[in-house]
């Protein structure tokens, strides 16, 4: 720039502007959270935005099989055919309306039972002097770490009635007639899914309760408020955001669940959107399947939006602020023993009983309830002793290979996901309030509302081909890791965000002023302080990725087979004992992973709620 000559020329104005822009850009680039934000946005574009676009494109173009329905259809050509077929044709009632109503009432039923149940349990564990807390908390998470359809299978084992025929369920075998509504359809689906999701409510709510300062309540009580008033005026309002987001999280999960409705709904032809999606995908009518998926995503988004409007998810508690949160444990007094008995009975009936039932059934010869001749054939039988599976599962190289893959995938993707979660947290929290921060947070949450079955299918189509320098990832382990990490982003980014929120920004600012480089700040401050949150993300990803099925079912190849995909085949073929044995194996592996990781990382799941 030349010397100031007293007049403002047009050029110098532009130059000034340019300098400003350059300066801003430089300053902007010197803020690592912005650069990181850009990188993360690029990652999100590939892992989240592109799949979403692909779903919409899939719903708006003809597929190959459509030429069998529409004579002049050209595969790949744009069309509104599938939208019309799903939303305004004689199929609308059976593809969209009824299944959607079913999905909605299931999701509502599940959340209305699971949330109070989980919250009550969380309150008992965190805020009272209930005995056996550790044990109760640990048993409570079991249903959440098992594949959700395991509960459905267990339900069948117990409540199956004569409508299906064949060997009777447990109650029928005892001479009790079980009505259809208790054996199949809405009620069993809701109850089985509630058992699966109440631990999720427990995890979400106990995190919030644990971080709630009881001094407010104490103060109110000291000022003469009754217990009821405290609960109504202080505890509940403070809990409301956490309850609201737990409601939405469980509700959207309930909307998209596939396994349980597929198993318990089929005998009475009770269908949900996800089971319809699966059927359409199975028949190669992908366009209609994706159109249905879009409707499901829209409804989930609407729920989240309404929750944000009504309650406001962004209200957060101050947690680690050096103010010394104190948790006052309420004394249960005389009610202590009865409450303990009720809780233990509940956990025993809902969790331990079905699990033992599965284990026992895997030890019977014919899968019936003849426990006089127990056998370990299905576990450790010699090669050739088991039909079609050749050997007991622990001696079958095919199963062992799947087991190794399952462990590898769970650990690797949990490491990647939790580290990514921390970065997400950093980028979102440091730029809090900016458009980019909001965008990243929302995009990272999006995979939550895309049904797994569609997400997996899209990843298959996207990554089966090469993209410029990126080679085709299909059939590789990397793709499984990628899809798992992407699908876990909503969880790990949340734990990352809540971990970052707890780190006072003055710590990093101090280091910055002392001239510490970004890498050093990250390494010396952010990562050590965020470790516990990262660990929570690691554990959550670890325990949920061992059980996932619909996400990976289309992506696995013989080399990358996983235990869950193998069990599902056994279930479909009616090899009950092997299926149950592998289900038990998955649960055992997941629990050991959980306990090992919690012991190593000194972190508990309660941190996850944030």
């Amino acid at each position: 720039m030349g010397e100031f000559d007293g007049t403002y020329s047009e050029t110098s104005g532009i130059v000034t502007t340019l300098t400003k822009v350059r300066f801003r850009l430089l300053r902007w680039l010197s803020r690592p959270e912005k650069v990181m934000g850009l990188v993360l946005l690029a990652v999100l574009a590939v892992l989240v935005v592109l799949p979403l676009i692909q779903i919409v494109i899939g719903a708006s173009t003809f597929g190959y099989n459509d030429t069998r329905l529409v004579p002049d259809a050209v595969p790949g050509a744009w069309t509104l055919y599938h939208w019309q077929r799903v939303a305004a044709s004689r199929l609308t009632q059976v593809l969209l309306v009824k299944p959607l109503l079913n999905s909605l009432s299931i999701a509502l039923g599940v959340v209305l039972i699971a949330l109070p149940l989980g919250s009550l349990l969380a309150w008992l564990v965190v805020r009272t002097d209930l005995p056996l807390k550790r044990l109760i908390a640990n048993i409570s998470i079991i249903p959440y770490v098992m594949p959700s359809w395991v509960m459905a299978l267990a339900w069948f084992t117990v409540f199956k009635n004569s409508r299906i025929g064949g060997s009777p369920g447990f109650f029928e075998a005892m001479g009790v007639n079980v009505p259809n509504w208790l054996s199949y359809g809405y009620i069993p689906i809701v109850l089985a899914m509630t058992i699966h999701y109440f631990p999720y409510a427990f995890i979400l709510v106990s995190g919030a309760i644990a971080s709630m300062d009881s001094q407010l309540e104490d103060t109110a009580r000291v000022l003469g408020a009754s217990k009821k008033t405290v609960l109504r005026k202080i505890t509940f309002p403070l809990m409301l955001p956490a309850l609201g987001s737990a409601f939405v999280l469980i509700f959207s999960k309930g909307l998209g669940t596939f396994g349980t409705p597929a198993i318990l709904g089929l005998p009475v032809r009770y269908y949900t959107v996800s089971t319809r999606v699966y059927a359409l995908l199975s028949n190669g009518i992908e366009g209609s399947a994706y159109a249905l998926v879009v409707f499901l995503i829209l409804i989930s988004s609407l729920t989240i939006y309404m929750n944000a409007k009504v309650i406001g998810v962004r209200k957060k508690f101050t947690t680690i602020g050096g103010k010394g949160t104190r948790i006052q444990r309420m004394k249960l007094g005389r009610a202590k023993i009865p409450i303990t008995i009720v809780v233990c009975t509940f956990l025993g009936v809902c969790i331990l009983a079905p699990l033992s039932m599965l284990l026992l059934q895997s030890l019977t010869l014919n899968g019936d309830f003849n426990f006089r001749e127990l056998t370990l054939t299905y576990w450790i039988g010699a090669p050739g002793s088991v039909y079609a599976a050749n050997a007991g599962i622990l001696r079958d190289p095919y199963v062992l290979g799947g087991m190794w893959n399952t462990i590898r995938l769970a650990v690797i993707s949990a490491v990647v996901a939790s580290v990514a979660g921390l970065f997400f947290g950093y980028a979102v929290v440091k730029a809090r309030g900016s458009f980019m921060s909001k965008l990243i947070e929302n995009l990272a949450f999006t995979p939550y509302i895309i049904p797994s079955i569609a997400f997996g299918g899209i990843f298959l189509s996207m990554f089966a081909r090469s993209w410029g320098p990126i080679p085709s990832l299909y059939g590789t382990f990397t793709l499984l890791v990628l899809v798992t990490v992407a699908k876990r982003l909503p969880y790990t980014s949340r734990t990352g965000i809540s971990a970052m929120m707890q780190i006072d920004k003055s710590l990093e600012e101090a280091a910055y002023l002392r001239g510490a480089s970004w890498v050093k700040r990250m390494w010396k401050i952010i990562i050590p302080l965020g470790k516990s949150g990262m660990m929570a993300g690691f554990i959550l990803s670890l325990i949920t990725s061992m059980r996932m099925l619909s996400l990976i079912v289309l992506l696995v190849t013989p080399k990358t087979r996983l235990l869950t995909s193998m069990t599902y085949r056994y279930v479909e073929q009616g090899f009950t004992q092997q299926a149950n044995a592998i289900a038990v194996l998955i649960i055992l592996m997941t629990l050991s992973g959980y306990f090992l990781a919690s012991a190593l990382g000194k972190s508990k799941l309660e941190h996850i709620g944030g």
Binding site: G165, L266, N366, R465, S472, R569, G574
Partner: protein, 407 residues
Amino acid sequence: MIWNRKVVLLLASVALLVVTLGAFAETLDEWLQRVELGPYATETQNWDAIIAAAKEEGTCIVYSSSSRTFLASDSFWDEYAIDVQVYDLGSTGALDKMFREHKAGRYEADVIFTGGSEFVFRALPEQMIFTFVPDTVAAYLPEKYKNPALFQRLSLGGIIYNTEANPDGPPIDNVWDLTQPEWKGKVTLKNPMTSESTFNYISNLVNHDEELLAAYEAEYGTLEYTCGIENAGYELIYRVLKNDPVLQSSSADVAKAVGTPGQENPPISFYIGTSKLTLNQSDGLVNAIADIEPVDVQVGESYIAIAAFAKHPNTAKLWIRWVMGTPEPIDLGLTELEPPYYEGENLRMLRGFAPWFGPGNANPMLGYPRAQGAVSLDPPMQVWPLDMEFIWENALQIQEFWLINGG
């Protein structure tokens, strides 16, 4: 010296590049020529050369719709010490996976082993798979079972009933009986929406309007169409759906539901694949195919073919020869074999076909012996082969009908 080394290095890299590019650039035609498939297929094969080449190729990948394929891969290993990895994907999954892979230029599968109209009307004409007929069995196969696609087995679709509860034969004598009130909630079948092979038996009914109409009129008088379509096949499907059928996820579950002994009032099945009649032997079930009007069995099929650009073509050929079995039992003049089939002399003679040898399946070779208790496919047995062309053209419309009416 140095200069020379550079030249050598340069030449070597160029050579490598050319070889690599050449390898990548193999066209379908070149591949077909190399592996002698498609237009270059030969009537006879040099099996010694194929076996020798197969032993060099390494693991062969099979996409299959049948879990029994695992057993055949075991016996294949025992015979040749060559590894075959089976991927059990169901009747729709096997083709679907290959379609997606081929679309992306990935050629993972060597053998596709499944049923379904897409096999013949999409995969074959689009040159994604190629038929290979081993010379060991070619002479014994009727033309329709080897051209355009090779049939590995015929799958019999029938209505199964519980013989213990019905010692005097099937509880129905006409398929329309299933639409009567006494069978409300007592008819069970595998969910046809997730199993193409099951849906084919249902689609095929629509193709037999006249026979179904005659069967109705013979027992119940004039047929009043209530489903909106004047076709007795549609009407039958409609009335079965209105009679509250019980859907199950697998044909093994259906077989267990119907055929578990000790039931007072067991259900009966609608048309399903009857390969699970083998559970009579292994699990003590008491099932049999019902002999009724107007059709006793519908004959479906499972095809086998080599996938385009298969990386292990010789193993694929040897594997196909293995699962087809040999004409040995025909040459010996055997008409029926006593169980068990998956051991001893039976296993040796049936070779790779042994896992499927049972009352619900038949080998497509003329004169091949039957399993004990298997139904005959000759008159007076009433047999409808699946018309795959009809199914290809109409199945999706019939599926819509099925959905709309509560299936």
